[in-house]
């Protein structure tokens, strides 16, 4: 088995269909109200008040499901791709194995929740952007991308879903999301600790890792799907991010790049829709 698996080789059964982030971003449609001729709705946040709440929740749940599969695969690959001692400390790899178990449970939970909500495995396209962030050849960059950016996004998503369950009075959804949220906070802390430890005497490497994390954070804003704005379906979970060890500055940075991503996406959509009208 080779080291460093390209995202195109992720193994899936015939129910799945994978798309890249670039393909998703080429879609010129938008749920944003600001740039559309007719009003879509006042808020895109996934809440039970939305008329299409159940459908939106199912879509997000499926996104969580495939995201957990990729997180599982990413953690597993970190166990394999790096030589113990020389490239990655033994204890770091033990943490990644632990994370693989956690993510495997999250996949199990997601399958059960999907059944509960009435969705089917593979019903929605799988965006492979999460695993792409887990493909770095430097374990520190991988930790920054996966444990801080990806798992940070997971904190935002689980918080949104947990709140959805709370408001809808769905005890099953709320219970499951809360448990997964606890694991994700642990994974972010794990990433923060290792990033600090491994780059203790290498400020240049730490800088590179944090820059990479910033790029991934912007990528994971999915063109504004996650931000503080009500136009985004997923909010920024500031309290849980704080618990996970993100500093105020880091949270502000994610808020800023998310808004940037939202505005860039809106401008792009407006341009595409104007071009179509011409």
């Amino acid at each position: 088995m080779k080291k460093f698996m390209p995202v195109e080789e992720l193994a899936r059964d015939e129910r799945f269909h994978q798309v890249t982030q670039a393909e998703r971003m080429r879609d010129g449609r938008s749920a944003f109200s600001a740039n559309s001729e007719q009003s879509r709705r006042s808020s895109n946040r996934i809440t039970p008040e939305r008329p299409d709440a159940s459908e939106a929740a199912r879509g997000l749940m499926h996104g969580i499901f495939v995201g957990e599969i990729q997180a599982l695969e990413g953690a597993g690959r970190t166990c394999w791709d790096f030589t113990t001692g020389e490239e990655a400390p033994f204890a770091l790899k033990l943490d990644m194995a632990r994370q693989a178990w956690d993510e495997a449970r999250h996949v199990e939970i997601s399958v059960k929740l999907g059944d509960w909500m009435g969705s089917e495995i593979g019903q929605f396209a799988e965006n492979t952007v999460l695993f792409q962030a887990a493909c770095s050849n430097d374990p520190v960059l991988r930790l920054a991308g996966v444990n801080r950016a990806l798992e940070g996004l997971a904190i935002d998503v689980f918080t949104t879903m947990k709140e959805f369950g709370e408001v809808a009075g769905d005890p099953y959804l709320e219970f499951c999301e809360d448990w997964m949220l606890a694991d994700e906070v642990t994974h972010v802390k794990m990433g923060s600790d290792w990033l600090r430890k491994v780059t203790e005497n290498d400020p240049e490497r730490r800088k590179k890792a944090l820059e990479f994390q910033n790029i991934v954070d912007k990528m994971f804003s999915y063109g504004g799907t996650r931000s503080d704005s009500d136009e985004s379906s997923i909010g920024l979970a500031r309290r849980f991010r704080e618990l996970a060890g993100f500093t105020d500055d880091e949270v502000e940075y994610v808020a800023e790049v998310s808004m940037q991503a939202l505005n860039e996406r809106k401008a792009m959509i407006a341009e595409k829709q104007a071009a179509a009208r011409r």
Partner: protein, 183 residues
């Protein structure tokens, strides 16, 4: 019966207007609506899965956001299954309004979320009995989101699911009972 689909060509999605019209014709015939004109307006700039229906005795106007007809596995591509299901739901709702006992139902935009959910259960249950592939659990989940997560709510869902013919006032009473039972 005339069926129109707007737009005739799509820029944001790979949908086919004549194909959509053929699906609509098949559904209309299945539901006994082949003596009524149908206009289908697709908002291809929206990925949402919302569908609105405006029904009059001689014309039904279905406005669908593109997500409702989309193959969610292959975004921006049209799905025959989703198109058939979305149009069937819309046209059966229209039939309820013009020929069933739903003439006194509020307009779609004035319906409460719980009322919309209850009506949708009544619609998809009948489509299921007509042989369409329906995800009952998805319908139950939506009903629970609008009425509450309780055994009593599930009981009302089953009652609505099994009814073949009802009226708006009866259906609304079921929905209100479910919402009250949860409380």
């Amino acid at each position: 019966m005339t069926i129109t689909v707007t737009p005739e060509t799509f820029h944001f999605v790979s949908f086919d207007a004549p194909h959509t019209a053929r699906i609509a014709a098949r559904v209309a015939t299945m539901l006994g609506l082949d003596d009524i004109d149908i206009d289908i307006v697709v908002d291809e700039t929206s990925p949402l899965a919302r569908v609105f229906v405006d029904a009059a005795p001689d014309r039904i106007v279905v406005t669908a956001h593109s997500g409702a007809l989309e193959d969610t596995k292959h975004p921006t591509n049209q799905s025959d299954r989703a198109t058939t299901l979305a149009l069937s739901r819309a046209l059966l709702k229209a039939r309820d309004r013009v020929r069933g006992g739903f003439a006194d139902a509020p307009a779609d935009s004035a319906l409460e979320l719980r009322q919309t959910a209850a009506w949708d259960v009544h619609i998809v249950a009948r489509l299921s009995r007509l042989g369409m592939e329906i995800n009952k659990q998805a319908s139950l989940y939506n009903f629970r989101n609008r009425h509450g997560f309780a055994d009593s709510v599930d009981g009302v869902f089953e009652t609505i699911w099994s009814i073949e013919a009802t009226t708006w006032s009866e259906l609304d009473a079921f929905s209100a009972r479910a919402a009250t039972a949860r409380a």
